[in-house]
Amino acid sequence: MKITVKFFAGHRDAVGKEKIKMNVKKDAIINDVMNSLIKRYPALEQLKDYTIASLNHSYAKLNEKLKEGDELAFFPPVGGG
């Protein structure tokens, strides 16, 4: 399945890209993507404990299943205003 992964703030700096397209296995969960990204971009490892995930523009848990065309995003804790 093809998905898009976006990165923001420190996570974007660690990856060096704003977004990537990925192929993931059927029934993959968000945590699987996180782990494979850490292998590809080792700088993400130290951010793992501060990582927040969103799926299709809503906050998501790491055990949520992915489907074709999903937009996943990883970023640090938020703080606007």
């Binding site: 923001f8 703030a9 969103s54 523009h57 809503s58 995003a73 938020v78 703080g79 606007g80 205003g81």
Partner: protein, 121 residues
């Protein structure tokens, strides 16, 4: 109403437009860039998600408080000291609901909106 923008806005204009016959109170919060020995402030935002989360927050505020209009404006991009960052304005018949809703909205925004501030020193 939610507005995500790179451009400056006028709080006065927003408040003026909220003055309607049934409105007895307008409460607003204006967040601006403070001089903490910085040159600039960069505001990064996941825009689609910020809009969605702020819309949810607005709907929750409407359920909790008896308010007339809600306006949330948040900027992104590179800002200077003294620049406007965020405006929350709430109108209602009576002041208590406007005050409470305004505080609920700015506290909620800080917790849920995917926005990151970076101080450029």
């Amino acid at each position: 109403m939610i507005k995500i923008t790179e451009n400056d806005f006028s709080a006065d204009e927003v408040i003026r437009k909220m003055k309607k016959p049934e409105v007895g109170a307008v409460v607003s919060f204006l967040g601006i860039v403070r001089d903490d020995n910085i040159k600039k402030m960069k505001i990064e935002m996941y825009k689609e998600m910020a809009e969605k989360e702020l819309k949810k927050l607005e709907n929750n505020a409407r359920k909790r408080f008896d308010v007339n209009e809600i306006m949330i404006i948040h900027r992104y991009g590179s800002l200077n000291i003294g620049d406007n960052i965020v405006l929350i304005a709430v109108s209602s018949a009576h002041r208590k609901d406007a005050f409470r809703a305004c505080e609920y909205l700015i506290d909620g925004l800080k917790k849920v909106a995917p926005i990151w501030k970076e101080e450029i020193k």
